[in-house]
Amino acid sequence: MVRLNTLLFSNTAACISVALLACAGAVALPHIALFMVLCLIAFAIETFGLKRPSRIAVNILSVCALLAIVRTLRYNNVIETFTGAVLVLIAVKMMEEKRGKDYAQILGLVVLAVLSAAIVSYVESVVYYSLLISILAGVEFVLISWFVKQPGALLTARQALRIVGGAVLIWVSMLPICLILFFIAPRTNAVMTQFQQPARAPVSSGFSDQVTLGSVREIQLSEEIAFRAEAPLLPPGSLYWRGMTLEAFNGFAWLPARRSYSRGPFTAEGQTVVQKILMEPGYHRVFFALDKPVQIEGRNAVSLGDGNFVNTDARTSGRLEYTAHSRISSSMKTFNLDRSRNIYLSLPENYMPELRAVTDGITYGRSDREKAEAVMAYLRPPDFEYTLNELPTSSNPLGEFIFSSRKGNCEYFASAMAVMLRQAGVPSRLVAGYQGGEYNSASGYYIVSQSDAHVWVEAWNSETEAWERHDPTPSAVAGSDQAEAKYNFLSFYIDALNYRVSKIFLEYDSESQWEMLGSLRRVLRNSGSLANVNGGKLFAFLGKLAALPAAAIAMFFIFTAAKKIIKRRKNREIALLHDFLRVMKRKGYEKNPCAGLEEFVDFIQNDRGNMPESAETAALARSFVLRFEEFYFRDISIDPDSETELRSILKRIRAV
């Protein structure tokens, strides 16, 4: 026999303990402690029937608690703080007088807490906690809908079991649909995430195989995000995301060299930075990474040398995720320039003799490095200005840029520098990629947009035998400040959320599914051996899964037992009654819980009265019961003399 409100309260308590476990990793310790203290108070109020604090007091308390939590709000812990606040709200709600809608609100908050915890700390156990919450929530809803109609309803154990069983059945009947979704959902990621937006073509990663003069502008005008890269915070000057090198120039466009031997292995010195990069959906030909990429771990990634990595499966559009290892350096050493030197010096036949005169004028007789510096100085403002508008597009765009308009964007500056260096006999090439990016410190990643698309120059330095990076574009220096305004406080967090959701749910593809099923299969195959690593892991999860409701139930029973003990100590008659029943039980007479005391004694007398020992016990028990009832059923508290007397009867029963 159990009261509906008791059942509902304990189910809610179970929900909350699961939420606590799910959030434990995501929420700061003081918040957890605050939550637990409030919960214990709520539990004590409920279990021991203490007086509830007034609503005003509760509201003041919750406002204070929330203020204390909000004070810990930092740039990088919004979700964590939010989860903490939700937990505290749950505890506060638990302290109040609860009606059906309050329970529903608590359940809503619990689900919110688990979901936000899932976003912050993606660990597999959160999935299991969510699973558990979904079962408990089903039970909770069934209980609430009954509770609304009949708060104090009395249920037998069988009825209670039927409710729980029914709710679990509802949950189980949903499983087939969930399984179907489990296998379908991840494969349609692009569509699923954008179903509310008008359909659009997948973003090509901004760059095609070639960079035509004036084409980068179109990329730069786009508002789209190109990719996000999880990486530590780096100085702005080192934020060059290298894509591909372009060696051949035909007067209008830069193309990659046909001959592959032009590129090869290289060494670079500097800090090693590991980046986890998630490209937006699109047809990705090139892998981007911080300058200089040493290694890229991703599906279909092939190194072409000199830090160029291409995607062998560029026909598949979708999100691309990979890990890149880079050395932050502006120069790279290679050893095979002799064979390919001509590639890096070639220009169209008789290309811009007037420019050659200028070049000779500023570079004659200088070293490679000095030549590069001189060209950089030549292209500097105010002589040349940065613009994205009215770019030179005549039959000789570069000539127009250098000699008449003197305004252009990165590919004009870079092309001009590379061409001038080649005229001066310095091997040089263009590098297409991105420069800059917004650092989202909330979750530790860079947001690189298409407007960060950039082209810069690498020039050979024969003294050091290394490619050195030169960026002649004026905006490259000022650009980082400009971009700052693009993201405000809020959009950072929205983006962080978006990013995490993409990472957790969209990257969960068929491969991960098979991995999971495989581990399950392995466990089933040799279920006996727990030594199996994956199997053991799964068993550990299953164990954890079972441990949770067990813990909730144990908590419930501990509190009920504590309640009983306290009640008994408070009430001497009840203590005496329990002692009597215990003595009788030890004698072998257990009272049916539904029988009265006199019935119990009659039963002993009728059933076993023919044995002298039983008859004596029954007689003593009867004298106890008759005396005891005088107090118990008259609501008179027992006086010490009578208590001693009754206890002496108990002693005699024990002695029989």
């Binding site: 539904c594 009265g596 005391l597 059923f633 609501d635």
Partner: protein, 315 residues
């Protein structure tokens, strides 16, 4: 039928006085006394010829109550029960002739033979303890008790009591066949109706009222007992086999019976056993079972017994 050990002197005297006529009907007598002492009415459901009338007459004699009798037929009018105003030519005015209901103990034989209208007049009188005739309200005698009988087998030409009216009876009791030894005694002695007339009363109408008041006043009822009764009532309301559970009046009546049981056993307070002993008879006709098992009284009592076996009385 649960039995209880009577220790109260008054009740013992009543039983002793009637012992030559009881022939194993002690338990039925005790139930009549419970109804009388707690101000309730009784529905005796039994086959004819099992001593219902004799029982009622004997009880009225020994309690010193005025006895009235209504034999129900389908042409019985409400005024035949309540009485009516008759024009007296010599006085030139109407004079009220009280019906059989203006007695202390009224035996209503075969109540289900009366029309709905007459039943309703009777039951209203039972509820209100007063009748209104031609705009004048007359109070009934105190104590006032109805023992109605009903034949459970015969159905043709009867108007069964509506469920809502059943609630007005404190208990529904069946006497049943006497055991062989008692029946032998009855046969040996023959009809004793005349002998019953010679029984001298133990109580009077006034002392019955004072006993009623004493029980109400002196028997202590702990909140534990009230909780127990309410739990039983709640269980009947949530029970899957029961369509409609016990009303608040039902719970009050159960408490009154428990009080009386405690008093009869010479105890100044109520214990759970007092509640249990009459619970099936007090509650069975107040619940309606779901589905097929609607009519059988034994089924309802069985369900109630199962509920009693599920509610822990000591908390």
């Amino acid at each position: 039928m649960g039995s209880l050990e009577v220790k109260n002197d008054t009740v013992l005297a009543v039983i002793n006085r009637l012992s030559p006529f009881l022939h194993g009907k002690n338990e039925a007598l005790i139930r009549i006394l419970v109804c009388a002492f707690s101000g309730g009415h009784m529905l005796l459901e039994d086959l004819p010829g099992l001593g219902k009338t004799t029982m009622a007459i004997a009880a009225s004699r020994v309690l010193g109550l005025r006895f009235g009798r209504v034999q129900c037929t389908n042409d019985l009018l409400p005024t035949d029960v309540t009485g009516l105003n008759i024009f007296k030519a010599d006085k030139g005015a109407f004079e009220f002739h009280p019906g059989p209901i203006f007695n202390n103990l009224v035996l209503v034989d075969e109540i289900n033979r009366a029309t709905a209208k007459t039943q309703s007049a009777l039951l209203e009188a039972m509820g209100e303890e007063q009748v209104t005739i031609d705009g004048v309200t007359y109070r009934l005698a105190r104590p006032f008790m109805v023992i109605a009988t009903q034949n459970p087998i015969e159905h043709s030409g009867t108007t069964p009591l509506p469920e809502s009216q059943m609630d007005r009876f404190m208990m529904r009791v069946s006497i049943g066949y006497p055991d062989r030894e008692s029946e032998l005694g009855i046969l040996r002695k023959g009809s004793q109706k005349n002998a019953i007339d010679g029984v001298s009363p133990v109580l009077s109408a006034e002392s019955v009222v004072s006993v009623q008041q004493a029980i109400e006043r002196d028997i202590v009822v702990s909140d534990r007992i009230l909780e127990y009764i309410l739990t039983i009532a709640e269980m009947t309301r949530n029970h899957p086999q029961i369509a409609s559970g016990i009303s608040t009046r039902g719970a009050m009546v159960l408490l009154a019976c428990a009080r009386c049981a405690a008093w009869m056993q010479g105890r100044g307070f109520v214990i759970p056993e007092d509640v249990k002993i009459f619970a099936p008879e007090v509650l069975a006709h107040r619940i309606q079972l779901r589905g097929t098992a609607r009519s059988g009284s034994s089924d309802a009592e069985g369900v109630l017994q199962s509920i009693l076996n599920e509610v822990p009385p000591l908390t």
